[in-house]
């Protein structure tokens, strides 16, 4: 078995505990796994993994139009074709709103004087770092208002796979984004297992069902962890019934525990701070590995 098995942590709803779970699994995995933070919009793993940045690169996500005022004849053709209301005309000049521009380049193609150039858009940074558990982490920061988070996620993953290969790691643990959009889709590409972290709220169950659809589309094997499981026993039961009907293996219930927030405050991983929770995460990690391994053998 030489292929790298990727386990991506997803939830649909935000704030269910993806990062706490991913960091705990990484803590237990040690040098067996590379960690990837694919919640590039609002990444948090770096706050508790103690990253020591080895390499940092700039991320250019798409392009942005730039008008050269010397060459522009103010004909307005660019404004006419722009579907994103990114070009405005005031005080006799046409200007581009960088935030609205999606970088399609249509304006630059119709400009009769060649006054519009498509420039690479600096929209973030990505890093390779050594982390406290002796392994490495691939992570990134998307700048505010950045486009193309899917592409940045793909970059983070590509680095993570390369690092895993170089270091002989069998596993990749990926912390995903909330929602079902492009960063989530991008984080699922190539993953063997999707570890779904949910909580017993009507909102989380609703969101779980939607993200499950995306997980299935990518043929990742879904596994379930219910966090804060005792907040509402009835909804917890409902989630288990749903999981059973969908043939999703339910790995663990994690009761509400203030250790999650407390360990975060100390910039520590919850599994290294709390023995009881560590035991739960050990069983989750063993099972997730087993399922990921069997997906490769089949």
């Amino acid at each position: 078995m030489d292929s790298i098995r990727e386990i991506v942590v997803l939830s649909g709803k935000g704030g269910t505990g993806k990062t706490s779970v991913a960091s705990s699994l990484a803590y237990l995995a040690g040098k067996e796994a590379i960690l990837a933070d694919c919640d590039v919009d609002a990444s948090n793993l770096h706050l508790i993994m103690g990253p020591d940045i080895i390499k940092k690169e700039l991320f250019y996500g798409g392009e942005v139009a730039q008008i050269d005022i010397e060459t522009c004849i103010q004909c307005g053709k660019c404004k006419e074709v722009c579907r994103f209301d990114a070009i405005s005309f005031s005080a006799g000049v046409h200007t581009i709103d960088n935030l609205s521009c999606e970088g399609c380049g249509y304006c630059s193609r119709v400009c009769p004087t060649g006054a519009i150039t498509m420039m690479p858009r600096l929209s973030g940074e990505f890093y390779i770092s050594g982390i406290r558990n002796g392994s490495q982490m691939s992570h990134a920061k998307l700048f505010a208002g950045g486009e193309n988070s899917g592409k940045l996620v793909a970059t983070v993953k590509k680095n993570a796979y390369r690092m895993a290969k170089e270091r002989g790691c069998d596993y990749l643990i990926t912390d995903g984004a909330p929602g079902i959009g492009c960063p989530v889709v991008s984080s699922l590409s190539g993953a063997k297992v999707a570890l779904l972290v949910t909580e017993p709220t009507m909102s989380a169950l609703h969101d779980l069902k939607r993200v499950l659809f995306v997980v299935r589309r990518f043929n990742a094997i879904p596994l379930l962890v219910i966090n804060k499981s005792d907040i509402n026993e009835a909804v917890s039961e409902e989630i288990k019934i749903f999981a059973k009907s969908e043939k999703i293996e339910h790995l663990a219930d994690i009761p509400f525990n203030t250790a999650f927030v407390e360990s975060m405050g100390k910039a520590r991983i919850v599994a290294e701070e709390n023995q009881f929770l560590k035991g739960i995460f050990e069983s989750v990690w063993e099972k997730a590995k087993e399922v990921a391994d069997s997906s490769v053998q089949n």
């Binding site: 649909g12 709803k13 935000g14 704030g15 269910t16 990062t19 919009d41 609002a42 948090n44 706050l47 508790i48 798409g62 392009e63 074709v81 579907r83 994103f84 935030l99 999606e102 970088g103 399609c104 380049g105 249509y106 193609r109 498509m118 998307l142 700048f143 505010a144 208002g145 950045g146 486009e147 988070s149 899917g150 984004a177 909330p178 929602g179 079902i180 959009g181 492009c182 889709v185 909580e199 017993p200 709220t201 009507m202 909102s203 609703h206 969101d207 939607r210 993200v211 659809f213 995306v214 589309r217 804060k228 907040i231 509402n232 909804v235 509400f256 927030v261 975060m264 405050g265 910039a267």
Partner: protein, 292 residues
């Protein structure tokens, strides 16, 4: 800075997910509806949850589309220009066929309008729906992205343009988490942004990112701290040191979490109601001062 006099567009956003955007949006909307018309717009189109809390009758469902090119084999001479034109890799020439990846298309129309054979006419592509849900004074517009779609921005823009026609003067936009394009599309045209956070290192880190986004969009903003009393004081200190107004603190209370988990509103809970009511008063002052 108000868009139109009298209309107040309030965005409820956060960097981090699960900090309480939906909790705050639905309860604030419900509070306002006790004495006035109010519009609640669920722009977290990837995972819309407001309709779990606002129970009413669905009065209308508007299908939402984005425009995508459709390849016309009869007209195409396979010159390949469209593939070069598309900056999003949504068009691929596979031998004797142009394949359109609708999920990647940004609807810029460039390929279609620049095709010299007019072989890529634009057609509508269903991306999701907007439901209109009425509950007395409260109208909920829920945007819901189809689960096989990846790009929320087109739908978010559609929902915004639906709202612009008419509706209540008081409009609350429950926005998606994060600080990227979908958050900007949701909040960029609002009169005020409420950033909901929690007093943890994760909450603080993501609040700073959301503050950056709000500043980039040049929108006025304030903070609400949820689960106040858990975690630490760093968020409060950050707000104080940076002159950011904290408009409300929702106490950490396991019974709030429990009620929320069932899909219930919490205005009958005294301590929670007083937070919402005082927040409403502060927002009224902001609204009045913006209207001059």
């Amino acid at each position: 800075m108000a868009q139109t006099s009298n209309v107040f567009k309030l965005a409820v956003a956060s960097g981090k997910g699960g900090t309480g955007k939906t909790l705050l949006s639905t309860n604030l909307a419900s509070f306002v509806s006790e004495f006035d018309d109010v519009l609640l717009v669920d722009l977290d189109v990837e995972e819309p949850n407001d309709s779990i809390f606002v129970k009413g009758l669905v009065s209308d469902v508007h299908p939402q589309y984005k425009m995508v090119p459709q390849w016309d084999v009869a007209r195409c001479d396979l010159c390949g220009d469209c593939v070069d034109i598309c900056n999003f890799n949504a068009l691929v020439n596979v031998g004797k066929m142009i394949v359109v990846y609708e999920n990647l298309c940004h609807s810029c129309h460039a390929c279609s309008e620049l095709c010299h054979k007019k072989a890529l006419p634009m057609k509508k592509h269903h991306v999701g729906d907007v439901s209109v849900i009425k509950s007395q004074n409260l109208t909920l517009l829920e945007g819901r992205l189809n689960v096989n779609e990846e790009q929320p921005v087109a739908l978010i823009n559609n929902v915004h343009s639906l709202v612009n026609q008419n509706w209540s003067k008081y409009q609350i936009f429950d926005s998606p988490p994060g600080t990227s394009c979908s958050m900007v599309a949701s909040t960029g045209k609002c009169d005020y942004i409420l950033l909901v956070t929690e007093p943890t290192p994760f909450g603080l880190n993501d609040l700073k990112l959301a503050v950056d986004a709000a500043k980039l969009m040049k929108r006025p903003f304030g903070v609400v701290i949820n689960k106040y009393g858990s975690g630490n004081k760093d968020v409060e200190e950050y707000c104080r040191d940076n002159g950011i107004e904290v408009l409300g603190k929702i106490p950490f209370d396991i019974s709030i979490a429990e009620r929320y988990s069932k899909g219930e509103l919490l205005l009958d809970k005294h301590c929670f109601r007083s937070v919402v009511s005082s927040l409403y008063n502060k927002l009224e002052n902001i609204r009045i001062s913006q209207n001059g």
